[in-house]
Assembly symmetry: C2
Homo-oligomer: 523 residues x 2
């Protein structure tokens, strides 16, 4: 590979990004999903001519080619695709530009729906090094430096969680994979202990007590998904009641555990959420730890969102007790400002990883490991694995914990200001005060003088105003539903992950929501 | 986020990559794992001063900061890390340079161990756009354009496999995840049909016929790993005998299926490998399809490596019958020249995805989907998911299938030339002719005049010469073991994925292997 070809191609990308962002002119393109998909289909078609909007004469990639020296892409032949097979030197510019145009841009202050952060440029730059060098974490001889760096980073993050020496962990694709790993180890460990069998070898036993997982009713759906994947079934997950603050009620957890034990079931795991996706609610971690220990259950803490609080002196006490967990999920592509993916899975005791250890003759033969060529293969569910540790390590050192903590605090301040603005607005209703950097609210459609709208109508208007904001390219706000049944549960959501957004911008965003609500109400 | 900050940081990265590659001066650094880890620990230490070797005065990041405008990283305070928390503006340069120095570089002709490709610069550049825009594929409003593009790409790749309309699929982290998905759908589909239960909801039944997976004895270890994860247990995998060519013996598959059915078991899935990791062997796909259908089993084809043959008119016939599979794994970070990750999972019939469908109020509410805001959430095991489709789409259009096919052919030619050179060398022994772009061989340590070395000694010398080449920074060759028991099974491996390498370079690489073997033999 000729890495010298990379520089001009990066210039093409930066120019195309700028052109696409300029054309978008807001947080999301003002276009229907159908029209956007049709435009992308035209841009992706083999031999596509640049559309009039996209053709701005900035193609530079044609002169450099894709970069292998014996590069057939230099052939200027067009009319390509899988059938005819030729090359198209403008594809990088054209597809980058339409990707930038057609993105929901978390760097825009009015894009505030999801746990979808604007990545730090320093992290984006570090990720480029990873793409270019292409280490793979499944063997030492595909990633000598990255293997050492990931090990150091995991040690440091284990310290951040408060784990004593002897912890271990791995980078993951995100909280969903981390939660799966926690529950897999819980299954193999707790069920293995109860049955005296290595269930990863023999399979789930056909008899014996049924394994159960306890998680709050507002825990992430990946808990059910993991139970399904692991062969336990979604029904293995016992939903534990939450209080008005949407935190797990420890009394309810105690009662569910006792009832389950009374039915002769096996309390396999407790999943405590540290930062629910919708409201940032943090379950009572010390009580969860005490109850899990009392029943011999594994405690997994899903801190994919709330783990960011550990970076902030102000917010870190919210996670007191996380160090008692057997395993933890963190996501630095949320409060950590990394490009996707930057998931982290940690276990308090490295030896609990036993059921995942694998010997593959072509990756980690014993004599190579004895000679110091250790691999991380046995720590991950994946084989080939990108070196996502690098961008996190660079970010951590470039900003320091203090610098990252200031970003967390800025987003927390913004959420408090946004919630105050909702409370002060007569047409908006706040759900609860923000815990971290997100809050739920809704538009109240009816002028009080005309009598209140019914709950189904309030739901309809809020859902429709959100789609209107998307369609008009004005804002990306979240939409979710409160737990329970029946109408009246739809809520809008702001998730504030952009530390450069100002309170004034949030106020204008809320006014935009109200305008869209009025427009939908009038329909 | 201030994307304008990105340009100077990219310059820092390119300069640091060049400096690290220059310092390395070969395919891998000439250093022991311990010394490399110690040097990386120094570079990663909070407040690390650049080491003398690394300090070359090229720091440019200090003047631009990591990029948020209210950026605490601009604070020049050092002595940082998690404890003291300050920032270090040189971290990007320092860690990128040591990463480049400490990499096994697949762009070097003497780095030829694994399915670890040199990425095309055009793909690396496209991946930069993804890092910067940070779409996440779990909802439309985090990835409007990328959602449409991935859908188009999957359609085109399904066509490449020969699937009729109605196929579906998703980007994955690699063959391991793709194999897991295939076996998960097989479990939910075949076991569900046999038991009349939705096993993803109820869990694996405690009674009834035991599910079995049939895969060749040299199939990838991720098949066992998937069985373990899915609750079936590794023992659910029935190893099917292979012939001398390491292809699954269809007679043996027929016999194993018949024996299993005779034991009252449930033949759940057949996994056919199209391109084993070590030798590129391709199982007899039409026979596997016929036998799987006869027993009502799901056919999954692991074409993570061999799927690249579909790009080459010359090699594509090797995969005849892949279109009969219920699901397929492809990996474009192997024969596809993408940065990790570029896995692809395809199913022939979209409706077989049923057990993975999920409704999450905050991601894909029904009324949003009805209004055209469709998400890909139900196609993936992940929630947050990087837009890996973009780099593949850009590559496919930039080079075309024909251009990519020429790269595949170049690597195939190189493997044929390398195998011929092994055959011609008196001290080297070829295992079998290459099928794709890899072959096994070994060094024969003893001069024939002095009598043959025993098999254990041949193993020792080959394993040791490989580590010597690593330690001396001269070459990265693979090492694996043939199936079976007892000594004499260690083999070296060349996996040729660099189309710019020349046959002369491979001959020199083989001479280097012989020199290292002689040095180990003399010890």
């Amino acid at each position: 590979m000729d890495r010298g070809a990379l520089g001009p191609l990066l210039t093409t990308v930066l120019d195309a990004l700028a052109a696409g962002v300029t054309r978008r002119g807001g947080p999301i393109p003002a276009v229907s999903p159908e029209d956007l998909a049709a435009e992308i289909a035209r841009a992706f078609a083999p031999g596509a001519d640049p559309s009039p909007e996209l053709d701005s004469g900035r193609s530079t990639s044609g002169s450099t080619g894709p970069g292998f020296s014996r590069d057939p892409g230099r052939d200027p032949g067009r009319g390509s695709g899988l059938d005819s097979g030729g090359g198209d030197p403008d594809a990088l510019r054209r597809l980058t530009e339409i990707l930038a145009y057609g993105s929901a841009d978390p760097a825009d202050p009015y894009c505030a729906a999801h746990l979808h952060c604007p990545p730090l440029p320093v992290a984006v730059a570090a990720d480029l090094a990873v793409s270019a060098l292409n280490p793979s974490m499944d063997s030492w001889d595909q990633a000598p430096a990255a293997t050492a760096l990931e090990t150091l980073l995991i040690d440091e993050l284990a310290g951040l969680v408060g784990y004593p020496p002897g912890a271990a962990g791995v980078l993951t694709s995100g909280g969903t994979e981390s939660n799966l790993m926690g529950l897999m180890l819980a299954r193999d460990h707790v069920l293995g202990r109860a049955t005296g069998r290595r269930v990863e070898v023999t399979g789930l036993p056909g008899d014996g007590p049924r394994p159960r997982i306890f998680a709050s009713s507002v825990a992430h759906f990946s808990v059910q998904r993991a139970a399904a994947l692991l062969g336990l079934g979604e029904e293995a997950v016992v939903p534990v009641a939450v209080g008005d603050d949407l935190r797990m009620d420890p009394g309810a957890l105690a009662a569910e555990l006792a009832a389950s034990a009374g039915r002769g079931e096996l309390p396999m795991a407790v999943v405590a959420t540290a930062g629910t996706t919708d409201t940032g609610a943090i379950d009572p971690l010390p009580e969860c730890a005490r109850l899990a220990a009392a029943y011999g259950a594994w405690l997994h803490v899903d801190a994919a969102y709330g783990g960011g609080a550990l970076l902030s002196d102000r917010l870190a006490p919210l996670l007191d007790g996380v160090n008692l967990a057997d395993s933890v999920s963190l996501d630095w592509h949320k409060l950590g400002w990394q490009p996707v993916a930057a998931g982290i899975f940690l276990v308090r005791q490295a030896e609990t990883y036993a059921s995942l250890a694998r010997r593959a003759a072509y990756l980690n033969p014993a004599d190579d490991e004895d000679a110091g060529y250790g691999s991380l293969l046995g720590l991950s569910l994946r084989t080939t694995r990108r070196a996502d540790a690098v961008k996190i390590a660079v970010t951590l050192r470039t900003l320091g914990r203090r610098g990252l903590g200031e970003l967390v605090n800025a987003c927390h301040d913004l959420a408090l200001a946004g919630a105050a603005a909702v409370r002060a607005h007569p047409r908006l209703e706040l759900h609860t005060e923000p815990v971290l950097t997100a809050f739920l609210f809704r538009y109240l459609p009816t002028d009080p003088a005309a009598g209140p709208a019914g709950p189904a109508e309030i739901d309809r208007v809020n859902a429709a105003l959100r789609r209107r904001l998307l369609r008009e390219g004005r804002a990306v706000v979240g939409r979710t539903e409160l737990p329970g049944d029946g109408p009246g549960r739809v809520r809008l959501k702001l998730t504030l992950l952009n530390p450069t957004t100002t309170p004034e911008q949030i106020e204008r965003l809320l006014e935009t929501v109200v305008e869209a609500g009025q427009a939908e109400e009038a329909r």
